[in-house]
Symmetry: C2
Subunit: 180 residues, 2 copies
């Protein structure tokens, strides 16, 4: 599929931040013309679908500056440089919820916004939970909650659950139940 | 949930581009300390789950500069300023695939990367397809394809389908089949 490729002719670095970098690429299009592509570079992240012994899904409420509101998401966090996604998932689950899981299953990965960003989320299923030590990042404030599938579906409807990884997780749960 | 809020004290505009803007907020955290939040502003987007008369899912292959590779996605596109999401979905489906749909159903919306961006994708189901006029944006090069559910699941496994909205769409299709 090389005929769809867009080759970078020039790349200007606009911003190099704490979490993201921004560059603007001048690209040569498949038809020979030029265009610009704005690209946000992100270290990647993990997200965890974790069910309690009672079969409830663990969510964390968190204020999200880009949305200027609190939403409920599955536990998640950014990869440290060079960090293994599974190790990151274990760390983030314990930090954000105080839970340790016995069994971990990789559910694959996905890019969140391939049009403008390279963020890739690695998704895991965590089973067999027991109590660890909660303690968030020093500048991260989250509130743990546990919900039934019906509660989760209502939260999706009311946009309290409103981000890609978490609506995916709720749909995963629906599908899992149907496949029993 | 006001106790989780992060108030912006200062906001610095870093970049104002063709598609995205970038700002850095100095925020006051719930514990009174200060931190920085890097925020990408995006106009929002639509995505369309469209099935052919033969029951295949329509995908478009597209080179994505942030990933430096071609992936297959459900038809999608950015909202023009003030554009109604449904109108945008109709426009994008026809532009990218040459298809017009008789019935449109809103499947809700989700934020793709609430940690650093405000991009919201409005998802639609398009049914009753007929031929319209294909013709992409002048700097957009896509290749249409139609896949069965088994083919789509293999593409997810092989990371040819590798973005949030499209893995969500494939899972939606699985769930829909199970609910029949």
């Amino acid at each position: 599929m090389k005929h769809l490729n867009e080759e970078t002719i020039r790349k200007e670095s606009i911003y190099s931040g704490r979490i993201i970098d921004l560059s603007v690429h001048d690209v040569k299009l498949p038809n020979g013309k030029e265009s610009k592509r704005e690209v946000v570079y992100h270290p990647g992240a993990v997200a965890v679908i974790a069910f309690t012994k009672e079969g409830k899904l663990i969510l964390v409420k968190q204020f999200r500056k880009p949305l200027e509101k609190v939403i409920a998401e599955i536990p998640a966090g950014k990869l440290e440089k060079g960090e293994d996604p599974l190790e990151c998932a274990k760390r983030e689950l314990e930090e954000e919820t105080g839970e340790i899981a016995e069994n971990w299953v990789s559910l694959g990965s996905f890019y969140t916004s391939p049009g403008f960003a390279d963020e890739c989320i690695h998704l895991f299923l965590a089973e067999g939970l027991s109590e660890g030590i909660a303690g968030t990042d020093e500048d991260e404030f989250v509130e743990k909650m546990e919900v039934t599938l019906d509660e989760a579906l209502t939260m999706v409807e009311q946009q309290e659950i409103h981000d890609a990884k978490t609506v995916f997780a709720v749909q995963y749960w629906q599908l899992k139940n149907k496949m029993k």
